[in-house]
Point group: C2
């Protein structure tokens, strides 16, 4: 049967989700847990690769396996074999042809930026900190230029071989909760480091170091140098995956 699992993980100790040669990945520890529980090591399809150090609140994956463990007991059973920074939140049976990545309509990422001169003693590794005062309202207004279907080539790190750099952003909000500035973006797909460069560009605008029109200029020029810096991974969370079109049940 085809099993859909929801994970939350702290990405600080991992080289992203996808199995690779030069470091421990979330997929690898998940497959280790599957193997210990089921005696089998099925292929796992993740909804996203996620970069090294990035966190997830709602990561979806699927795999095919035969087990008599009831689905509602699978989370606790798997969590016994997983490290504390990776937790299974849910497991359910899905149609045989369901694929966690191909069936996803859109994904929401959240970036947490602490706008303060002082770090938090409680959330180390769960935000990025920027001491310059940021105007979240101005950032939210500027972000609306990004919504829609655009060529985001300027907002992609070098080293990617992707040819089609057109993506659709469904919504982008920037809000302030105390000294925490929260960026939320939902799109049908993302280029390499796209969310972190988009947020880095909005920080330049919010700090008054770039005019709001800088976004339109970068979209038009397609030049990486017209966009802002890439923010570090520790503020980034994959926060939701939608398997229905936006406006659907999610």
């Amino acid at each position: 049967m085809n099993i859909l699992v929801t994970l939350a993980f702290h990405g600080g100790a991992y080289h992203g989700f996808q199995v690779q040669k030069n470091g421990r990945t979330v997929c690898e520890v998940f497959q280790d847990a599957l193997e210990q529980l089921l005696g089998d090591r099925p292929d796992v399809k993740g909804c996203s690769r996620t970069d090294a150090g990035v966190h997830a609140l709602d990561f979806k994956l699927n795999f095919h396996a035969d087990t008599r463990i009831p689905m509602q007991k699978l989370p606790l059973a798997l969590n016994r074999y997983l490290p504390a920074d990776v937790r299974v939140l849910d497991a359910r049976q899905v149609p045989e042809d369901f694929h966690a990545r191909y069936w996803a309509h859109s994904k929401e990422y959240t970036y947490r930026l602490k706008n303060s001169a002082i770090d938090s003693p409680f959330e180390q590794g769960l935000y990025w900190r920027s001491p310059s005062p940021l105007d979240a309202d101005a950032m939210h207004a500027a972000a609306q230029q990004l919504v829609g279907t655009h060529d985001f080539a300027a907002f992609m790190s070098a080293g990617s071989s992707i040819a089609d750099t057109v993506r659709t952003i469904h919504r982008f909000s920037v809000t302030r909760e105390g000294d925490m500035v929260l960026f939320k973006v939902a799109a049908d797909g993302y280029l390499y480091n796209m969310v972190r460069i988009l947020c880095g560009t909005l920080v330049e605008i919010g700090a008054g170091r770039m005019p709001a029109e800088g976004i339109a200029r970068a979209l038009e020029s397609r030049k990486r140098s017209d966009a802002g810096p890439t923010l570090p991974p520790q503020g980034l969370f994959l926060s939701h995956v939608y398997y229905e079109p936006e406006g659907g049940t999610g």
Copy 2:
């Protein structure tokens, strides 16, 4: 001059605030930082002792020292010499006779209880987890019996030599935010482990293992055995210290 400092700290690595023989304390690392910055190690008066492992969002302390460092620069200067789990949030000059403990009218503690079968990968050591379904509304209603001036002898751990066990609780709320149950209590003072026993008693009521009237019975009997268990320290935060009567500016 007399300096009032606000700290936030993660208590996981400390034997409470107050200097003692058998373990590292927050006061000790704070005095170490003062000594490195000022070349002097003044006495420090904390607003509370706090138990081993307990956290603080708003811990107040004061000390007398002569320094030409402007007050608004003192937090960053001290934070350079403090470990990452202890942060100075604010520093200001106060009247010569101000005392962080004696001048406090009341203190608010918050207890965070995750009501779930699954731990969080992000907040390790910052909550206690209880899998039995809890009725937060019933706990809130039962907690109102605690508000007012009562003899809280039943809600004190053995080993305390305090004779006067009468305290005044100004307010007590229990609310649910998703799977997190939050207890907030403000009182003029607390007996040994009092908040953790009060919350432990309310958990018994919320899980249906004790009737709501158990609180009135424990208040009347003054017997520790009539109250619930002592919850562990990692869910407990000193969340506010009031230097004005409740209803004042705080």
